[in-house]
């Protein structure tokens, strides 16, 4: 399978070599008769209901059109193909066509691929090639802010399901000739168009090559985007931590592209996959960059704090109540004791049950339509929570711990990261119930080890903490420096052009 560069070749001309291989042997080249050619293609395709053939016979032109009526724009066929053909007086009929995108195809396999893309195949009597004309129709959702990545300030547009629109949104923001877009067609049956987008003057070519190698190795029937794509290119799929950044926001995508990262888009999904990323990049929100330095840094730090709360708090509670009651201050211990006194379960079961209940409520809330989802939240959160405490099944403290933990886990600006933190706390809870603080500490050390070892596209995932780089840590990791301080790009993506800011704050003298 090959990769085509934008500008060098037309995306139309590509075929996925894989998907045509089995057919290439029994199909021959086109003949001079238009009727025979279309028959040949119809035989190859089988008789699909929406495959239409139209014959025309004008003064100069005589031939047939072949297209899928569901994915072409019939108005444009009339305007740009049939009318010019009927009115032309030129000898070379195809010169009359007014479609923007057209190409001669001599190979039936390629012709079928083009047909699938929504092209109209034009066969002229006496010619052994067909002309593929781009008159695809688009069904566009309007560009809206993605519901799961809302920001307070900044742009409110989001990617949609159409690849071309998405690339347009990126090009609109990043008007650099260095912006490279490379297409690959994936999925033997689905023929999904996938775009690899990067800034060639910044992104490290080795990383680009590596990602292309991974993408080109994909060979499967269906490309279910973005989940399958992510699974196929991620370094370690069994790690709880996502090693790619999923975003539906153009501003977030281009900020990452400008940091030397590579974006991966599949047609049919509004989600863009960005690689390589670090653990900390998943905690950066576009809001940080629109906020001023001090509030931006504060909320950034708050997110890391909530990460710690989300993974540690239930474990800490279980360890304290089960092993280390001395760490509680005297005034607090009585209150907590009063709560757990009447609970009939050991703390691990109490907390596990409550955590599971919260997860169930969350899952139910996601699936249900918004008005019912809210009801579920109220019934689940308030009524069940209160009833559980007054019935004595769980202590008040447990409900507080579980609720704070759940809320903290949703703070992560990446949905995948938020799921990851919610999952990590379960093993930590079990460890804490077995060995108290020791178990919890072992768990944390194991997670730290795993994070240090993890790679995203071969680059360290836990940078700039491991490998340690203080400069990056203070610039855009734990705190957010003002934009004029970001003189260089972060090193984790190994950009070939490091400088990013060149004295913007050295204002021109009056």
């Amino acid at each position: 399978m090959a990769v085509w560069r934008s500008g060098e070749d037309d995306p139309l001309s590509l075929t996925a070599g894989g998907n045509t291989k089995p057919q290439s042997n029994d199909s021959s080249l086109f003949s001079l008769s238009a009727a025979e050619n279309t028959k040949q293609l119809i035989d190859l395709l089988g008789k699909s209901g929406d495959l239409k053939e139209r014959t025309f016979s004008y003064e100069k032109a005589e031939g047939r059109l072949l297209y899928f009526e569901t994915i072409v724009d019939s108005g444009r066929i009339e305007e740009s193909i049939l009318r010019p053909l009927s009115e032309t007086d030129m000898q070379n009929v195809e010169e009359a066509l007014t479609v923007l995108e057209r190409e001669e195809i001599a190979d039936p396999d390629k012709a079928i691929a083009a047909l699938m893309q929504g092209k109209v195949l034009l066969f002229l009597e006496g010619r052994s090639v067909c002309i593929a004309c781009g008159v695809e129709t688009f069904f566009l959702r309007s560009i809206m802010e993605p519901a799961n990545e809302k920001v307070i300030r900044g742009s409110h547009d989001g990617f949609v399901e159409n690849l071309n629109t998405n690339i347009a949104l990126i090009r609109e923001r990043l008007k650099s000739p260095g912006l490279m877009i490379e297409y690959v067609q994936l999925g033997q049956k689905t023929n999904t168009r996938v775009a690899i987008i990067y800034e060639k003057e910044i992104a490290n070519p080795e990383l680009v090559e590596e990602l292309k190698r991974r993408v080109n190795s994909i060979d499967m029937d269906m490309m279910f985007d973005p989940g399958f794509l992510e699974d196929m290119v991620e370094d370690s799929t069994l790690s709880p931590f996502p090693q790619v950044l999923n975003t539906e926001r153009p501003d977030r995508a281009i900020a990452n592209i400008m940091d030397g990262r590579i974006a991966l888009f599949g047609d049919g999904s509004p989600t863009c996959i960005i690689m390589p990323v670090t653990f900390f990049a998943l905690y950066q929100s576009p809001d940080d960059y629109n906020a001023r330095t001090i509030p931006g840094s504060f909320y950034r730090l708050l997110r890391f704090l909530s990460f710690l709360i989300a993974i540690l708090m239930p474990g800490l509670y279980i360890a304290i109540v089960g092993f280390h009651l001395e760490v509680l201050p005297a005034d607090l211990i009585l209150t907590i004791k009063g709560g757990v006194q009447t609970v009939p379960f050991p703390p691990i079961f109490e907390v596990l049950a409550m955590e599971t209940a919260i997860e169930i409520i969350r899952e139910a809330g996601v699936r249900l339509p918004t008005p019912i989802g809210q009801t579920i939240g109220i019934v689940g959160g308030l009524i069940i929570g209160d009833a559980v405490v007054s019935a004595g099944f769980a202590s008040r403290t447990t409900v507080i711990v579980v609720a704070v933990t759940a809320i903290s886990s949703f703070v992560a600006p990446s949905a995948e990261m938020s799921t990851a933190t919610r999952l990590i706390r379960f093993p930590l809870m079990i460890l804490a119930s077995l060995f108290g603080f020791y178990g919890l500490m072992f768990g944390v050390v194991l997670i730290a080890m795993h994070l240090c070892k993890l790679e995203s596209l071969g680059r360290p995932y836990f940078a700039p903490l491991a490998p340690f780089r203080l400069k990056d840590m203070l610039r855009d990791t734990f705190i957010k420096q003002p934009a004029w301080k970001k003189k260089t790009r972060p090193l984790d993506s190994h950009p070939i052009r490091e400088g990013a800011e060149f004295g913007s704050r050295e204002w021109v003298k009056k």
Partner: protein, 365 residues
């Protein structure tokens, strides 16, 4: 096969459960009392608190006593009576009756110093009379007795009425034998009419037994002498006929000069430089330099006198609270050994110089 799966699962899921101490299965105690009329008989009393809720504040649920030959034996006997195992880890006050420490306090504390979970920040309080009734008697408006005693002592510490001590600080003078450092602990008494406990002063120790008592005012002076002023310290002195002045010590500087000549007795010069604030002085006129001078002189004399008196008292009790012996042994260990501190201390010549200065006479806050 089934056996192995069961074994493997229990190894995984039950590991560490022998270390488990579930909060709900333990009786937390906040206060304990020890009465030891004789060496063979140690009565240990614990007060088990009951958690409160919105309607009802936390209160003392049970008071359980048991007598054994050691403290540990007594606690085991308490476990026989209590609904759950008694957890001593959060104990905040330990009340010991004055009678129990006539000979040796250490056997009563040994268990606490051995136990890894023992609360080193618990306050040691000496009681006038038996210690057990301090938890049995009702205290008006204070349902949780142990917390009441704890806050009572803590606030007294803040106002320099009793020494700031706890299990850990108490230990070092106990373990150091004959080296010139003595322990002290607050002393409280119970007022049955008022249903209240009251801080009475300080118990002075000589080595491991009680050797004397100081009143609250004397304790304040002693703590000032030892440079251990709490958050604030107030003293009241007579100023001539029927007039008194209350001052608050603001800043204080102590200088200790040791004289240890090769021949002849050792002596100590203690000079104090302190600044104070007048909080109560009806005659007033403190804006006049002449009056201020007079008052300063008078106060300096008064402080010096009370310090002298207190010094005499602790010398009499053979309790070297100021740690003079410790400083001397640090300065000249050989000479210190020759001195035979137990004998030398009561005879020690201590000269005290005080220079007090008014810094504020107006509004106090």
């Amino acid at each position: 096969m089934k056996k192995w799966i069961g074994l493997g699962l229990s190894c995984l899921l039950l590991a560490g459960c022998w270390d488990e101490r579930q909060l709900k299965e333990r009786s937390i105690i906040f206060g304990a009392a020890i009465d030891a009329p004789s060496k063979e008989e140690i009565a240990f009393t614990v007060a088990i608190p009951e958690p409160g809720n919105e309607q009802k504040p936390a209160s003392t649920k049970q008071v359980i006593s048991a007598t054994g030959r050691t403290v540990r034996e007594s606690t085991r006997k308490i476990d026989r009576k209590a609904s759950a195992v008694v957890e001593i880890g959060k104990m905040r006050v330990l009340l010991i009756s004055k009678e129990s420490i006539q000979h040796d306090i250490y056997p009563l504390l040994d268990d606490l110093y051995r136990n890894a979970r023992s609360p080193l920040n618990a306050k040691i309080i000496i009681t006038e009379g038996k210690a057990e009734p301090f938890f049995r008697n009702e205290i008006e408006g204070e349902p949780l007795y142990s917390t009441y005693y704890h806050t009572l002592i803590e606030s007294a510490e803040d106002s320099t009425m009793v020494p700031n001590t706890n299990l850990q600080r108490f230990a070092s003078p106990l373990f150091d034998k004959s080296d010139g450092e003595a322990a002290m602990a607050p002393l409280i008494t119970f007022n049955k009419e008022e249903k209240m406990a009251e801080v009475k002063g300080t118990a002075l120790f000589n080595d491991r037994r009680i050797a004397g008592e100081l009143s609250v005012a004397e304790t304040t002076v002693l703590l000032l002498m030892n440079d251990e002023k709490g958050k604030d310290a107030t003293l009241t002195f007579p100023m001539g006929k029927e007039e008194n002045m209350t001052i608050r010590i603001e800043k204080m500087k102590r200088k200790m000069k040791l004289h240890m000549p090769k021949d002849g007795p050792a002596s100590v010069d203690l000079s104090y430089q302190l600044s104070y604030r007048v909080t109560d002085y009806p005659p007033g006129h403190l804006e006049e330099q002449k009056v201020v001078k007079k008052v300063n002189k008078k106060i300096s004399d008064e402080i010096k006198q009370s310090m002298d008196k207190t010094m005499d008292k602790i010398k009499e009790a053979e309790s070297d609270i100021l740690g003079i012996g410790l400083s001397m042994s640090a300065k000249d260990p050989d000479r210190f050994k020759q001195l035979k501190w137990e004998n030398a201390y009561p005879e020690l010549n201590v000269k005290i110089h005080v220079k007090a200065e008014i810094i504020e006479s107006g509004i106090t806050f």
